[in-house]
């Protein structure tokens, strides 16, 4: 594929700090290679801003290969940009046309306060995980492999939930800023496996309680989260969370 160079208008959300009002600022960026990833394009923009003695745009990123869940960005109204099952770092500039205006916003949710520019604080997710997204294991000798039998089909379903990278695109895309897809993926993967059963009832109750405490919205089953999810986590997990919640609330011993 031959390289084309794009000239873009970037409409970027700039916000100096958590308490700053913030607003859009438009930058002209010329000569963007179509082979660049979206984050590389932002790197080039920042080089340009630094050369002009302006503050570079703050944005989250880490592995740049779609597995760490650090990158975010609402790109032209789409979480992680226009492609399905893709994170922002895997999005390439060939998806854009010369002369395009690209609007870039941070995730918007009360539970994800903006720290600076496009960086939001997603530690609400960490606190939900701390509330129940773990299993207890014995220390000491390593257990025998395959000592606990798990049918292959169940492994697959658990893995589908475990594919969640915790990026927060589900919250960003949901009209209610609900974290149900994230929480359900984390509840699901452990509810399905025998290793997760000792904490099974407490897990769902505590994680849902923490989710509410963080101020996420409720689920209206629009499936917008599933469409936006870069890891293709299915809303079937939300139904499983609802079942787990009913089971734990009604039938649990404690």
């Amino acid at each position: 594929m031959s390289t084309h160079l794009l000239n873009l208008n970037l409409r970027v959300w700039r916000q100096a700090g958590p308490n700053d009002q913030g607003g859009f600022k438009t930058y002209r960026l010329n000569g963007v290679s179509t082979h660049m990833s979206f984050l590389e394009m932002l790197d080039v923009l920042n080089e340009q801003l630094i050369a002009q003695k302006e503050e570079p745009v703050a944005f989250d990123h880490d592995c740049r290969e779609g597995i760490c869940g650090m990158c975010s960005l609402m790109i032209n109204g789409q979480a992680h940009g226009p492609d399905n099952a893709t994170t922002t770092c895997q999005l390439h500039m060939r998806r854009f046309k010369d002369g395009d205006t690209v609007t870039i916003e941070p995730w918007r949710a009360a539970a994800f306060p903006v720290l600076r520019d496009l960086v939001v604080d997603r530690s609400a997710f960490d606190r939900i995980i701390s509330a129940g997204g773990f299993v207890s294991v014995n220390t000491g000798n390593a257990p025998d492999g395959n000592a606990i039998l798990v049918p292959g089909v169940r492994q697959e379903v658990a893995m589908d939930g475990a594919a969640c990278i915790g990026c927060g695109a589900c919250v960003a895309a949901c009209k209610n800023a609900s974290a149900m897809l994230f929480v359900s993926a984390k509840v699901s993967q452990l509810a399905i496996l025998p290793q997760g059963h000792p904490e099974r009832n407490a897990r769902v109750i505590n994680m849902v309680a923490q989710m509410d405490k963080e101020g996420f919205g409720s689920c209206t089953n629009t499936s917008e989260c599933e469409a936006a999810c870069p890891a293709e986590v299915s809303v079937a997990h939300i139904a499983r969370l609802n079942r787990e919640y009913l089971r734990a609330s009604i039938f649990a011993e404690t």
């Binding site: 409409r11 859009f24 609402m74 032209n76 109204g77 789409q78 226009p82 399905n84 609007t103 916003e105 918007r108 949710a109 009360a110 539970a111 895309a173 009209k175 209610n176 800023a177 609900s178 149900m180 849902v208 309680a209 989710m211 509410d212 101020g215 996420f216 919205g217 409720s218 689920c219 209206t220 089953n221 629009t222 499936s223 917008e224 469409a227 936006a228 809303v235 079937a236 939300i238 139904a239 499983r240 969370l241 609802n242 079942r243 919640y245 009913l246 609330s249 009604i250």
Partner: protein
């Protein structure tokens, strides 16, 4: 705006703080629990719709059959009154929870996006399909419900001539003629069809959504549930619209 939303979200928050009601309230004290209650009340109201439509289909059987049915229903007395109280409570819960969870969800977004697009496919309804029309159609259904009770139960619509349904003592006793009088004015026909179409849209998402909230989702059943939900919604709507058309076309 935020202050208003906080006031609207009070019922949901109060619900989380009611002490002494035991495990039941605990289930309902979270957003998940409240959505489960929305689902249960919604499906209960669907059950009422089926019963209501079933009874009203007696209109096709003629004046005598429908009036017999209406009188039999009214002669239940206290049982009917208790059922109506239950029905109103179900409506109130469903509507109250809808308002409070929507308000809380608006607070949860905090700031709207400058641009918001979707990766979901094309819907018949714009703006992301029926799931994003629940509040609007819900408000329309509520407005229709009030009109409907004024028209049919209280017989208080000034635009309708109820005299055809009254007996010698000036008491309305012919429900068949009362229904026909209400439905056969052009304005009412438009109001009723609008309300019923809103109901169809509401249920076309609502039924499937309620089942999902109750945890019913399995790839073996999903297609059936999706089609079944839509068929139920528009089947009920078509049944009621049929009665409006019948009333307008009815001679004699």
């Amino acid at each position: 705006m935020n202050a208003l939303l906080r006031i609207l979200s009070l019922p949901a928050q109060l619900l989380t703080k009611v002490p002494g009601l035991g495990p039941f309230m605990k289930v309902l004290s979270t957003t998940v629990g409240q959505k489960i209650l929305m689902a249960i009340t919604g499906l209960s109201l669907c059950g009422f719709l089926v019963a209501h439509l079933g009874g009203n289909l007696k209109l096709y059987a003629g004046e005598q059959a429908f009036n017999d049915y209406a009188h039999a229903l009214h002669s239940l007395g206290p049982i009917l009154a208790a059922a109506e109280v239950g029905l109103f409570a179900t409506f109130a819960l469903h509507i109250g929870l809808a308002i409070s969870t929507t308000a809380l969800s608006k607070v949860a977004r905090r700031k709207d996006y400058a641009i918001k697009e979707t990766k979901q496919g094309i819907f018949i309804l714009p703006n992301g399909g029926a799931s994003n029309w629940m509040m609007l159609t819900g408000v329309l259904i509520l407005a229709f419900l009030v009109t409907h009770i004024l028209d049919m139960k209280l017989k208080a619509n000034p635009g309708v001539d109820y005299s055809v349904a009254t007996n010698a003592e000036k008491v309305i006793d012919n429900e068949f003629h009362a229904v026909k009088a209400v439905l056969s004015t052009p304005l009412n026909a438009v109001i009723y069809i609008t309300g019923i179409v809103a109901l169809g849209i509401h249920l076309s998402h609502g039924v499937r959504s309620a089942l999902q909230t109750l945890g019913i989702n399995h790839k073996r059943w999903n297609l059936l549930l999706k089609i079944g939900g839509i068929l139920f919604a528009w089947g009920v709507a078509a049944g009621f619209i049929g009665l409006v058309v019948w009333a307008m076309a009815y001679k004699g």
